[in-house]
Symmetry: D4
Subunit: 256 residues, 8 copies
Amino acid sequence: MKRHELERLAKHYRAGKVTLADFCAQVLQPTSEQLSDTTLDVDRARRCGFPEVVFGEGKSVETIVEIFRKQQEHGDKSLATRIDAAKGAALKEALPAGIYHEKGRTFRMPNDEPTWGNVGLVTAGTSDLPVAEEARETLRWMGIEPVFIQDVGVAGPHRFGEQVHKLSDADAVIVVAGMEGALPSVAGGHLACPVIAVPTSVGYGASFQGVAALLGMLNSCASNVTVVNIDAGFKGAYLAGLISLRVLQAKSQPES
Amino acid sequence: MKRHELERLAKHYRAGKVTLADFCAQVLQPTSEQLSDTTLDVDRARRCGFPEVVFGEGKSVETIVEIFRKQQEHGDKSLATRIDAAKGAALKEALPAGIYHEKGRTFRMPNDEPTWGNVGLVTAGTSDLPVAEEARETLRWMGIEPVFIQDVGVAGPHRFGEQVHKLSDADAVIVVAGMEGALPSVAGGHLACPVIAVPTSVGYGASFQGVAALLGMLNSCASNVTVVNIDAGFKGAYLAGLISLRVLQAKSQPES
Amino acid sequence: MKRHELERLAKHYRAGKVTLADFCAQVLQPTSEQLSDTTLDVDRARRCGFPEVVFGEGKSVETIVEIFRKQQEHGDKSLATRIDAAKGAALKEALPAGIYHEKGRTFRMPNDEPTWGNVGLVTAGTSDLPVAEEARETLRWMGIEPVFIQDVGVAGPHRFGEQVHKLSDADAVIVVAGMEGALPSVAGGHLACPVIAVPTSVGYGASFQGVAALLGMLNSCASNVTVVNIDAGFKGAYLAGLISLRVLQAKSQPES
Amino acid sequence: MKRHELERLAKHYRAGKVTLADFCAQVLQPTSEQLSDTTLDVDRARRCGFPEVVFGEGKSVETIVEIFRKQQEHGDKSLATRIDAAKGAALKEALPAGIYHEKGRTFRMPNDEPTWGNVGLVTAGTSDLPVAEEARETLRWMGIEPVFIQDVGVAGPHRFGEQVHKLSDADAVIVVAGMEGALPSVAGGHLACPVIAVPTSVGYGASFQGVAALLGMLNSCASNVTVVNIDAGFKGAYLAGLISLRVLQAKSQPES
Amino acid sequence: MKRHELERLAKHYRAGKVTLADFCAQVLQPTSEQLSDTTLDVDRARRCGFPEVVFGEGKSVETIVEIFRKQQEHGDKSLATRIDAAKGAALKEALPAGIYHEKGRTFRMPNDEPTWGNVGLVTAGTSDLPVAEEARETLRWMGIEPVFIQDVGVAGPHRFGEQVHKLSDADAVIVVAGMEGALPSVAGGHLACPVIAVPTSVGYGASFQGVAALLGMLNSCASNVTVVNIDAGFKGAYLAGLISLRVLQAKSQPES
Amino acid sequence: MKRHELERLAKHYRAGKVTLADFCAQVLQPTSEQLSDTTLDVDRARRCGFPEVVFGEGKSVETIVEIFRKQQEHGDKSLATRIDAAKGAALKEALPAGIYHEKGRTFRMPNDEPTWGNVGLVTAGTSDLPVAEEARETLRWMGIEPVFIQDVGVAGPHRFGEQVHKLSDADAVIVVAGMEGALPSVAGGHLACPVIAVPTSVGYGASFQGVAALLGMLNSCASNVTVVNIDAGFKGAYLAGLISLRVLQAKSQPES
Amino acid sequence: MKRHELERLAKHYRAGKVTLADFCAQVLQPTSEQLSDTTLDVDRARRCGFPEVVFGEGKSVETIVEIFRKQQEHGDKSLATRIDAAKGAALKEALPAGIYHEKGRTFRMPNDEPTWGNVGLVTAGTSDLPVAEEARETLRWMGIEPVFIQDVGVAGPHRFGEQVHKLSDADAVIVVAGMEGALPSVAGGHLACPVIAVPTSVGYGASFQGVAALLGMLNSCASNVTVVNIDAGFKGAYLAGLISLRVLQAKSQPES
Amino acid sequence: MKRHELERLAKHYRAGKVTLADFCAQVLQPTSEQLSDTTLDVDRARRCGFPEVVFGEGKSVETIVEIFRKQQEHGDKSLATRIDAAKGAALKEALPAGIYHEKGRTFRMPNDEPTWGNVGLVTAGTSDLPVAEEARETLRWMGIEPVFIQDVGVAGPHRFGEQVHKLSDADAVIVVAGMEGALPSVAGGHLACPVIAVPTSVGYGASFQGVAALLGMLNSCASNVTVVNIDAGFKGAYLAGLISLRVLQAKSQPES
């Protein structure tokens, strides 16, 4: 609570416009709701721009449905990640308005069309697709349809160069790569916007389920590369979406 | 080279406006310059927004001076990181127009005043200061003076909350933390902009020179947290600066 | 054997009150019993406050039943952890007086009601529940019903703050968290009692099955945080229970 | 702020007993103070039982002196750890009332005599002494003189057994050990109170600067063993002191 | 080939007692036999005391039977480890004279009775039994019946002490332990013979499938503890058997 | 595009021999083709000597068939690795001209006979066979039949020595080994050509799925040993094949 | 205390031959002595064959001298390891009867001549010499002069073969090796006695200060290889000495 | 010894052309020489193409001089690596015909001019120069002057492309890179010869002294990339030189 809000509220209370009970409730307002197994953060959208997203692993269908319904009550959009096919089908039955994406393992609602799109999404190989699809669905949930470029890893170094012009206006570019994870560095060397690198667990042997790609990206010699967790398509997309949203808002609120 | 550029150039050549030699030189234009020990990327500012930055470790004063002078010729700004005190003094003597920052171990030129500032810079503890200073000098080199909040780690959880309002308008917030690296998660839970987490090697024992903080940040349960390398103050700042610059540009180029 | 016990016994033997055989048996008394595959420590409750607890993984139902029956003979309570559903059903059939908890994967007997409760038990996320249930059942076996607060991780930093007053009288608080494991640090910053952090294997990618949480907790900047093994709900509870029991005993044995 | 406090304050304000400015200041009270490089948590003792402790590494003498003086103003005791000999001498000169302990590398004030002592402190080997001394000085700062048993590691398994009776009344026992870190397990097998294991970086080769001991302790088969960071003598002591303090308080406030 | 053997052979050849072909064959004698997928080392028993032992994982029943039959031809005993139940049944059918041990997952032949026994075999917990059984079967294959002590881990520290006298004459003692792997250190502290520590993958979380036990054993503060690979019951037994065999031989060949 | 090619093309364009559209298309020629989920590098054979090889894991049969058919159109040979039995059968049905190798898990086409062979292929143990078969099929795809020596690991050190003469003319030798991975060092000590070491994930416990072998090979004291990824039979073969091909070409193009 | 000893003692006490005090003292006999910073295990030689050995790192000259003098009183031999040159000189001055070995960094006394020798000691490279010297001095302290073979690593595989006959009678062979640590496997393949592998920290890069060698040795495919800690020359020697001593004793106590 | 050699020798002996002593000496010929601390492999050049190379770390000047002189006697060239400046000066004084290279830390003799050169040597950054110089000196010792391209890392992705034509005829290309080690993959994508990747310890934080680069290279998606140890400039060069030498020989011995 900011000082000026408190001052106004205090004056109202002194003036008898609010009761003591209401006054206390407002100063000490609870900002979460207690569900069966969950303490839902219903203030998240106000604070952070978007409501709480559900990490689906280890949660029952009942728990997820309860959360989605509560978010609907609050007028919030909903997204759950790491939803396998069986859980996806059950959610679709309980919440027919939602969209399940099998490859990306996401469930989101409502089913709105993306309305803008200054985000790039690039994969190094065909096997990185599931992580990229999680990212794409997350962006769509935020209202963004990304520019999508597939399978342009560094073993064929010209492939990225042939399509890089499609990314020249992007506010942020997500690069999804496994194995040695070199593509974000190359992308970073061509681009003037932030590159959000998403290492994937694609590879074998000394890739250590994505550790090689993660380390490669953290040590990128390109200055504009930042990194999220292994296989974290959701998080890469969320950050790119936040950046693009902020730029969009700036366009409509010009520095006067 | 884009197609329309090539078409125009080809027509000029056909029309005899450019010689064959010039035509070939322009199509195959070299975009780097060969210095004594360095292949300087003189096209970086055009491609990526800012010129090449010098990683000072393992480079001689002569090498760095040669690079800075060449960048000056090209009208580029210069920044070198990881410059110890002795090297800093030698650079200052060779390039009196530059600024050496001892705690941040940076050398930059020219000495322009920062002109705008929508970036937050937060440290968890006093021992994280050198990394934060590297970040601050990088931002200043980009023209930004950040909002700086110090020593508000989670052991005193209210300390961050007391100052978070200073960050409410930031386009991006850099959070520098060692030990368990928990502050970025808490910051992420309060903010609607990207949080760029910089793990530091501050700590002992099972901190493993910053690995604990790095892992903590990569696994942050806050959706808007992204991570750079351990002690990479420069990189955290560079990314935040890129984001803020893009928002600034958007404000002056409103979506009409 | 303490000296005064030995002296008394020696005098009794000298006085002919005990035979040589009995004398030797008592001085060299065996304090374990040899079962089929087990050397049961039947002296544990005397030495350590509570009898031996059975780690159920890799033990057959027969082995566990044999141990429980032997402990019953000695008047000891019994607890087994890491009991899957099939083993749980078989134990319930063999020992109907016991209680099987499916989520917590524990089997305990007898079925006594908890009689006191100054221990807090907190989880960061809904997926940490199985580990928390192992902890809760362990506490109940010790006679304690904990104050239980769920799903208050740091991405919604106010959620813990809203309920922290429930823990103000706790003798010890167990905090169960996966991913970056930041909640114990925040809890430690609010509380004046020991915080026993239990890292869980919840997470993905660079969480490395709980290593990220474990390292975060070991490096906590809060002074009152101590750590047990990954997913060690039992151990966290056992320690908290020991502390609370000691405080309870102190209350009934005032410093006069 | 708790509800009943807020209610009373609101009534006072309504009744004109406090001004609007005072009312707001009290509701939104700042609980930290801004020093040169530090945001000092001056509310720590109220919340957590003891004031903030200074991690001395990477902090200048000036910074530490400034913190100690501010704590003195607030009536708080002060402790700094990881203070090398040079820094220790400088602190002693600036704050003559403080005590510097060279082996333990601590500086504390004021110089009060320990007044009670139900904590055990045990080392496995002579080389673990510096970590044990950090623990002992921390306990003294809390007002406790521990029962100290040295060099009773498991290679001579009877050595611990010969002295274990000295620990029979302890509220908590700190066990400091390097190499394979087996002593806490053995201690845990003899004791009915919490054993706080402090791994040390003593050893060579595959001890990996304390990692072997740390892992050994985390995997202890004794139920009452909990672990802190490598070489974290301070933290081990702080936890043991908190437990013992709580028991002491319970003795003076009997369950009536 | 030793020089005196060569000299004699050369003289025989010169004297016409052996042909050139035989001479060459003997000097260049092949010491392995080529089977379908295997290059069998048929000289191993002469060089190393015992014939080649088959690591069963990833080998077909056919391959193992072929090796056993070839060893039979050479008059060698046979042992295969890591044989699951299905493979064990198939081997038993093909080679009825062999013995399959299900818990130890070994197959050996012929079925001779152990004839001597100065080796100790100790486990820390009941879950370590399969590794201990692999060791016991290996010893039996070498002709040794070990003194077997089970489930005497350090959480009940007196349990080992109660039985240690059974090991007082052992030439070598194998100690099998998981979790923190502390028992070999304690055993080493009681015994005057080599202690061969076998870490097991028993445990969870930060035991990292036996790494914690392995490191603990490598860092043992007891001087007489040596270590083999995780779960390497075979190797621990083989070494103990070699030592005991050498002592047995020495008894029959007194230093005159 | 090389300068002299560009000059000739420019002159042709100026002379009207090529249209502007063709001129641009040739200068900016795309060298990859866009398939459903793949950006196929159709220029690879020209640049690198052999066409793109398909990493089969995580790719559908449809995707692989589409790639193979496109390569056929371009007159390229095809190879896919990591193809399990089910996928292999489906590919065989769709592309009857191809060869599926079950142990090596490869699919290649066309079915040409190897035509030359100066490459050695050696395994340490029978369990390393699947990786060696992947290597052998790769070599055959390149037109090479290797000299194959099996099961000659260092526990029977004479076994390799008995057959090393078969490798005396090899241009490169691939050594496939798991466990401690010592065979490449021994091979390197006997040979004058490059030894390409392929660590396998064969082993248990502290082999860490091939990490022990990998580290052993990287640290080989033999100067002529180089290393590829764990289980990377394909890569080891590809490198050996490239070397041998280059030597073959040199023989037909003598330095005149 | 064994039962028959206790019976005899009890009868003596009953018969009045010993006082109650003496009786208790003998039953509860202390077996360690308390020095300034040390709890010296004066019973070690009786239990384990050799007295306690001092790990010199982190111990002062005073502490070591005090221990040596106390051992002298008890008639025990003394050995300290990890003694740098300065400490060595100081010890030599305080204890002129001792021998300091600079390369091996050991100090031992008294200065007896080794009297027997059936132990082999082999190094892979010249840089492994310091660890080998620690082993050699330890053996001499035990009364053994080893057969010493230097610099016969596997890059020149015949070098070991040329000298292996010198080891044919050894009771145990210590093999000291860094880098990939392959020599113990090769040695194991030639010998019928235990091979005690000592990994050294010699190497660079991915040798990780001896980890590569350690892992190689733990995964040795030779059945008779066991391993001690990195750089643990002392421990390797101690084990080999114990084995050889036991064989020696067996020769003088023939199985009758 | 090959069979036909043995047959001829045997016949000579039978015919009395060689004595028994000579016959035995030749069959059992020693192929190493015993120096003070070294067992010099004087047969290496015959077996492996080049004589033994000295790893200079941990060897005294005397030892190295003794080896070089012995190699001179045998007509072998000499090379020592890891020679610091002080040792380099001492070697230069003792062996004036040798060449010390300060940056590459090598000493070699004799001082012959390189005579051919089909090897490429590429660095990613200026800080990788010392490792590259070790490689260059090794190549010169083998008689090769490499094509050297510096500082063309992927952050300026066009820099490598601009110079790649210089490598089009190379028999092998060495790529030296630190940080994320991405350059070898890009180089591999452009080249038809083997790429030998040398990771360097250049970088900070999560580069872990070259581990990130090493893993990146091992997981390269380019098929023609193989890897040597971190900072192993010598080994990378040795392998490239072997390959190029073999091609050179092939050119002079055409397949007829």
